[in-house]
């Protein structure tokens, strides 16, 4: 479904990705793990069209989408829940969700708003509150709900548990599990590497801009030797 081939992405003189490749197949949950500064966020942002790769290509459902505008990617069925959530704090919860459905028809938007209210009772309780007043966990659920409003066939999530309390981390992982059962294809960047890999079908380990290991999620997670050498800490870490 998603094929990233040998992409190199630069920020001015700094190269954040050195020819990284990965693949996500229909219905899979793929985890992308690695230490800070490995280029995980750069990779997701490149796929989502926020950054343009210097070399390499990105294919989605066989079509070359390298360097396409995010707006057209959303219409093609690809949504990103960005790092730090980036919900619109000046907008209400409902307005955030409505905007998430910007590419949908009016009827679809209404239908999905109802769905979101059902799936996220926490949000329904704060429907008309400014999103700036939400707690970290609520904001994360809003960020995911907002991305789901475009009914993406591929959902990219960047550090969905970053900065969340341990109990809320559980809620988010539970949500990921539920989305997976519904057959939603996902590519997740996670700091809770072990936990993410255990949940995932497959995983990729990224380090200083290179993919250094890949394989079945559980196997990669179990390979603690490999893990220690790259991350130095194989125990799941809770939020910072």
């Amino acid at each position: 479904m998603l094929e990233v081939k040998e992409i190199t992405t630069r920020y001015g003189a700094i190269t954040a990705l050195h020819g990284a490749s990965l693949e996500v197949r229909q219905g899979e949950l793929v985890a992308l793990v690695g230490p800070n500064g490995a280029g995980k966020t750069t990779l997701l942002n490149t796929v989502a069209g926020l950054l343009r790769p210097a070399t390499g290509s990105v294919h989605f459902d066989g079509a070359d989408i390298t360097g396409n505008e995010p707006a057209s990617l959303v219409r093609a069925g690809l949504a990103l829940v960005p790092e730090h959530r980036r919900i619109f704090k000046d907008l209400t919860v409902e307005e955030n969700l409505r905007l998430g459905g910007a590419t949908a028809t009016k009827a679809q938007r209404r239908e999905r708003l109802d769905e979101a209210a059902e799936v996220f009772p926490v949000l329904r309780a704060k429907w008309n509150t400014s999103a700036g007043f939400l707690s970290g966990g609520e904001a994360q659920q809003l960020a995911v709900g907002r991305a789901l409003m475009s009914n993406p066939r591929l959902l990219l999530l960047d550090e969905p548990t970053l900065g969340l309390a341990p109990t809320i981390v559980d809620v988010v992982f539970e949500l990921l599990g539920r989305l997976r059962e519904q057959g939603r294809t996902m590519l997740v960047v996670e700091q809770n590497a072990t936990r993410a890999l255990q949940l995932a079908d497959r995983g990729y380990l990224l380090r200083t801009g290179h993919v250094v290991a890949s394989g079945a999620g559980a196997a990669l997670a179990a390979d603690t030797g490999l893990f220690d050498s790259f991350i130095g800490d194989s125990t799941p870490r809770s939020g910072t």
């Binding site: 995010p70 707006a71 990103l80 919900i87 000046d90 905007l99 907002r146 475009s150």
Partner: protein, 298 residues
């Protein structure tokens, strides 16, 4: 008491025109971090549109539609030919671009029309007066205030209810996040310029109804006041722009009405005093009335 009410109405009249202009400036600043010094030129465009429309036998009935349409077209046009190309440049480059457009506009009107003022007839009812109690009002005061209130109400509705309004607000807060929602950058920016043009067009109508004449540099004075109003309110804050405009209008009329007349020519001092008060205000609140946390400083 009579004087107080009249000054208040005057102040609201001037202030609401500032508010319409300041809102446009804040809107553009929100979506692209540009303090658009060419915004005042939209008034000039509106005034010349009115002048030429009259020259060809137009009447006041159609005038607002003509002025507003031309201001909107001009606004979108400046984005298309100038600002779009420097969109990702530094705020300073954007600022200089807007200065260039302002100067260019002055020059073009001078060369192709005339450096002199071009008057046209005003609507007959403008300075008609009526009394409530023993306070007399001009019809124009009431028109100005009610048109502004209606325009702001529609604006609020657009920003609150429509997808376009949500996109603009979201883009003002976090442009990339808005793009991730499927908002098209070009479309939301063009839309913001069109809307700012509409607001400036309404302001232009109110301005030329009072003083029906077109002049190459007529936009500049209004622009300066509008920028100040937007900054008082907190650049990028839409409600702030409106409050800033009203506050500035009231401040001006009240200082003019209540400062003692020391000698002839001293009425100019009211403008100076207004600027001193504004300077003092920024010492206390450098970010304006409504601080916009996500707006970058320029």
């Amino acid at each position: 008491m009579t004087k107080l009410v009249q000054t208040l109405v005057d102040g609201l009249g001037v202030g609401s025109t500032y508010a319409l202009l300041a809102l446009g400036i804040s809107l553009i600043f929100g979506v692209m971090h540009l303090v658009n010094f060419a915004h005042g030129e939209l008034i000039t465009v509106g005034a010349y549109a009115a002048y030429f429309f009259f020259l060809h036998g137009g009447s006041w009935w159609w005038m607002p539609a003509v002025i507003i349409t031309m201001a909107m077209i001009a606004s979108v046009f400046t984005e298309l030919v100038a600002f779009r190309w420097v969109r990702n440049a530094s705020p300073f480059t954007l600022l200089l671009t807007s200065f260039a457009i302002e100067r260019l506009s002055h020059a073009l009107w001078q060369i192709f029309v005339s450096p002199k003022q071009r008057p046209f007839p005003k609507p007959a009812w403008v300075f008609n007066q009526f009394k409530i109690g023993n306070v007399s009002f001009e019809v124009m005061d009431i028109v100005t205030i009610s048109v502004t209130v209606a325009t702001l109400a529609i604006t609020a509705l657009v920003f609150k209810r429509t997808l376009f309004g949500l996109s603009v607000r979201a883009a003002a807060e976090d442009f990339d996040a808005a793009r991730l929602m499927g908002v098209r950058a070009n479309r939301v920016i063009s839309g913001a310029f069109a809307f700012a043009g509409l607001l400036a067009g309404v302001a232009a109508c109110l301005i030329v109804m009072r003083s029906p004449a077109a002049e190459p540099s007529m936009g500049s004075d209004w622009l300066l006041k509008a920028v100040i109003a937007a900054v008082i309110g907190g650049l990028g804050s839409f409600s702030g722009a409106v409050v800033g405009g009203i506050v500035l209008g009231l401040l001006e009329t009240f200082t003019r009405a209540y400062l003692p007349e020391v000698a002839t020519g001293w009425d100019k001092f009211s403008t100076a005093l207004v600027f001193i008060l504004i300077a003092a205000f920024f010492v206390v609140r450098p970010d304006g009335i409504f601080k916009v946390s996500h707006a970058e400083r320029v």
